[in-house]
Amino acid sequence: MDFSSFLLMRQEIILLAIIILLLIAEIFIPKNKKSSIVHFAIFLFGIHTIVGFLSINECSIFGGSFQTNNLIHFFKNVLNIGVLILLLQSADWIQEKIVAQDKGTEFFILLFSSLLGMYFMISSGDFLMFYIGLELSTLPVAALAAYETSKRISSESGIKLILSAGLASGISLFGISLLYATSGSIFFHDIIGTISASNLTILGFILFFAGLSFKISLVPFHFWTADVYEGAPISVASYLSVISKGAAAFILMILLFTIFKSLMHIWENMIYVISIATMFIGNLFALRQQNMKRFLAFSSIAQAGFILLGLISGTQLGTTTVVYFIMIYIFSNLAAFGVVQAISSKTGKENMTDYEGLYRTNPKLSLVMLLALFSLAGIPPVAGFFGKFFLFTAAASEGFYLLVFLAVVNVTISLYYYLLVVRAMFLRKGENPIPFFKNKIYMRLGLIITVIGIIVLGLYSPLYEYIYELSSIYN
């Protein structure tokens, strides 16, 4: 292994460099110019995002601990774009609220660390790397969730997250230890060869799966989600619901399709059941939420249930549709969170009733929200429809018609509560609507990118074809 192979970890290294640069900047930027750190961070991350698109070779380094390929690389880029949008959307909030408390740099550092953890998690080649990536991605987020130290709910959400995450990773680790016991290795490529459907393996797998499901917030491992989203700052909730969830779902898919392939007859049924439970529970809870963040939390739980529909097929088609869906989901959910963020940071209002009459005062924001919700609900011609349709196609391709049917029933339920928001914004006039306000450039940019994504991702088919090609390795 020569030095150049470090370049294969280019994205990780650049991100690490950004973190260090920010640390240095924190030291050298004088106190009254701290707000420039926001521009600096966004600038650096923007560069990082763009550089990320340079192609990379498939590789496996550190004895197989770290591996990457085009699909993983592509997914990292998707995560980058997501985080970039997130940064754009929360830039104003950070400037006004966080930098004022002199905690701006740390915010970025924690966020980037978490992202770095995700890189390692999805690039992991053994359970150790996976575990470290997982923890690296979770722990900073817990800190971020509790970031608004003056707010009680923020601390509460932080403690709930850290404790639940601790439990989940403990259980997951116990599962990994059992898997280690039965297969004799923590390297994925070794495990593939030795894994068999013994009871201990299945137990280990289930424990491990539970730990990962926690991150994707699948039922019944989802309970922390809503509380944490509600208490955490919006950008953190947004990060948890899109980036963190997306990355976890992605790695779950890779693990299921590779090392646990031979357990497919087990996890197929498991996912079947969990998927139904997740969709129903997520939707049923979302129905009566009034707080927008909580609302989006349950909606994102339900969306996770849909992702499982793609997983269940276990084919290249499934891989493609899952990646495609996650990508669309990231854009859609970020758009929704972006609007919530914009309104919340201007007015502090987060309830659905506060949105009444929004269209008449802030038509553009409402339209973004409308598109986002339609995309989440799966209404054409916005991208969400294509994402969902293809997920269903993937499930149906393996004959899971009943599952698809239950999923479409859930689509209808979910449409109901998405329309509740539309109702508040468009149908009602509202006694005290949020007055018109103009967003700053970052927020606008952030929203525009999501809108473009929501519209283009679905209609522009070559993107799907591209993902399909990349996914051929998981056939």
């Binding site: 639940s164 137990l203 424990l207 309970f223 809503a226 087990i266 049923l284 809870f285």
Partner: protein, 639 residues
């Protein structure tokens, strides 16, 4: 022979209708009256020309009046079934053309006087033209579907004209009733057509009516509940005819239809539209006669006979003069039906057919006359009720005379036209069915009685004191009366049997002297009785009414048929079908859908407790989830 010009007969009124209808607001009333009369005159002239051409120039071929058809395809159903539009000329259609055009023209002229000053003058004429168009179309129809199409159109014209005074609730409900009852009957007609079309493969009258044709020869090929399907079809179609011709028990709309302006009653509800049912049976007479040995025809006969008796009895007690005339119309149409029903086919056997058509013709004239005269009376005294009339002969001489002529004609007094046609009907009944003959004679007596009750009641009887002194109607109204009276007098002299007969060959009809004497005697008895009862105001009528007691009351209330229908529609259809359906829809069908939605929300509320906010509960669920998954997937569901 090219008869394509006959298409203009219906089209001219149509054009008038469109003209008057579209520019309703722009045309001055006087002008629209002239346009209407002019249009109809043109149609009438063409009708006469056609009649002349047909009967005297080109119609007859080797002793038989041929059927001339010209048509175009209007719509295709299947390879064989299609709707054609065209004209069919044969003796009865020509006869109907004449009837319709004469009466319609007279009514148009009459209306110019009668409707003067009315708000909807132009509208009235446009509706009249619409009706004329539809009626001409019906008469000239070449096939079942065409006749059905125009059948519906006359129905709607009738609706519009009955409801002409649309601000009057009674007129509106009468119009609705007329339309719905006939629509109900048309349902039978339509199903009949469907059956006929399916089993014979054609709607064309020519093919259907050909005694040697497949439709008639193969009538027995399919049967349903013991009868040939063709018989069923004919019965169903007769239901349609019965509805339009106000046969028992579908007659209830006709008396109410008198809510329309009187000229309308004269035109539609006396002379033309109501005989459409008779025309329909006559149009399909070979089928009725040959299929299943005239089973359906017997039904026609009995329904007709019963209706005529039933209506005549009711007519005796009614006090609204238009209603008396309406029941009289029903009775006379029953006569025609009965006559058709007892008719044979060939030669003199077919006297019933001929008599029926003959009576249709004469009845149209004198009944239109009666109505128009009655209209003239109503115009003068502004009331429909006998109690408001009496002694009018002094004020309205022309009306008096013409009404008398018509009354004598309908009573069957020699030598007026009614005598001849009624006599032929009784001959036909006598030759084929004694029971119906007795009924016929009895009805003849009743008819004479109630007509003269009416006549004496209006023009003689008590000397009523009028607020405004009544005066004779203007010429525009009396002129049609005189024309129609003239036709009523001379109409009987036409040798009808030579032109119109079931087998189209024509035959020589003779006056059957004994039967004629019986009928005349009965008629005169009726007149004399009426004279005794009503010439001068006296106690006799009420004493007799008392003597009949309950029966009188029943009759006066028209045997409660309206109430029965009301019960069926209001109580059964509205309250027992529609209301429960609406309720069911709200509670069950919609309730289920709502229920699904509401239940979802309820479930959502019920389960909110599991999101308790306690991190330890979450952990418990987490662990429980893991344990359950482990148990299930290690031990239970292992494939």
């Amino acid at each position: 022979m090219d008869i394509s010009y006959t298409i203009l007969i219906p089209l001219i009124p149509l054009a008038v209708f469109l003209l008057l209808g579209i520019f309703n607001q722009k045309i001055k009333p006087a002008v629209s009256g002239y346009i209407g009369v002019a249009g109809l005159s043109a149609s009438a002239a063409l009708s006469f020309y056609t009649a002349y051409q047909y009967f005297f120039v080109v119609g007859k071929e080797s002793g038989i009046y041929k059927t001339i058809v010209q048509k175009v395809t209007w719509m295709n159903f299947t390879d064989t079934l299609h709707i054609d539009m065209g004209v069919l000329i044969d003796p009865i259609s020509i006869m109907m053309l004449i009837v319709v055009s004469i009466v319609s023209l007279m009514v148009h002229i009459y209306s110019r006087g009668y409707m003067k000053g009315d708000d909807g003058y132009t509208r009235f004429f446009s509706f009249l033209s619409l009706f004329s168009f539809s009626m001409f179309g019906l008469v000239l129809a070449t096939n079942l579907f065409q006749i059905y199409i125009f059948w519906e159109l006359v129905g709607v014209s009738s609706f519009l004209l009955i409801g002409y005074y649309y601000t009057k609730p009674s007129a509106v409900s009468a119009a609705k009733k007329a339309f719905i009852v006939t629509r109900f009957a048309d349902l039978g007609f339509l199903i009949g057509i469907l059956i006929m079309g399916y089993y014979t493969g054609t709607f064309d009258f020519e093919t259907l009516n050909n005694p040697e044709g497949p439709a008639i020869l193969n009538w027995a090929s399919t049967s349903f509940m013991g009868l040939s399907v063709i018989t069923w079809a004919l019965i169903l179609m007769f239901i349609g005819g019965a509805g339009k011709s106000a046969m028992f028990p579908l007659h209830i709309w006709l008396p109410d239809a008198m809510e329309g302006p009187t000229p309308v009653s004269a035109l539609i509800h006396a002379a033309t539209m109501v005989v459409a049912g008779v025309y329909l049976v006559a149009r399909l007479f070979p089928m009725f006669y040959f299929v299943e040995d005239g089973f359906a025809l017997n039904i026609v006969a009995y329904v007709g006979g019963f209706s005529s008796l039933f209506a005549a009895i009711i007519a005796i007690t009614q006090t609204d003069i238009k209603r008396v005339l309406a029941f009289s119309t029903m009775s006379q149409i029953g006569y025609m039906m009965m006559s058709l029903g007892v008719s044979g086919y060939e030669g003199h056997e077919g006297v019933g057919y001929m008599a029926s058509m003959f009576h249709l013709f004469t009845h149209a004239m004198f009944k239109a006359l009666l109505f128009l005269a009655a209209g003239s009376v109503i115009h003068a005294v502004h009331s429909n009720y006998l109690k408001d009339m009496g002694g009018l002969r002094k004020y309205m001489p022309i009306t008096n005379i013409t009404f008398l002529i018509a009354a004598l004609a309908i009573a069957g007094v020699f030598p007026l036209s009614g005598f001849w046609s009624k006599d032929e009907i009784l001959v036909a009944a006598f030759e084929h069915n004694t029971l119906l003959y007795v009924v016929g004679v009895f009805v003849a007596g009743l008819t004479a009685f109630y007509m003269f009750r009416l006549y004496f009641g209006i023009f003689w009887g008590k000397d009523t004191q009028y607020k405004h002194e009544p005066h004779e109607s203007p010429l525009s109204m009396t002129f049609p009366l005189m024309v129609l009276a003239f036709i009523t007098v001379v109409g009987g002299l036409i040798h009808f049997s030579e032109y119109v007969s079931a087998d189209k060959a024509g035959f020589e009809a003779h006056l059957n002297i004994p039967l004629a004497l019986v009928a005349t005697a009965v008629g005169l008895t009726g007149i004399i009785l009426a004279f005794v009862f009503y010439k001068k105001e006296n106690e006799l009528p009420s004493r007799f009414a008392h003597a009949f007691g309950v029966f009188y009351k029943w009759t006066f209330d028209k045997f409660y048929f309206d109430e029965i229908y009301l019960f069926v529609t209001k109580k059964i259809i509205f309250n027992l079908i529609a209301a429960p359906i609406a309720w069911f829809d709200k509670k069950f069908v919609d309730g289920t859908m709502e229920g699904i939605g509401n239940k979802t929300v309820v479930i959502s509320k019920r389960i909110k407790g599991i999101q308790s906010g306690k991190v330890q509960d979450y952990a418990f669920s987490f662990i429980a989830g893991v344990v359950i998954l482990a148990l299930v997937f290690i031990y239970l569901w292992t494939n």
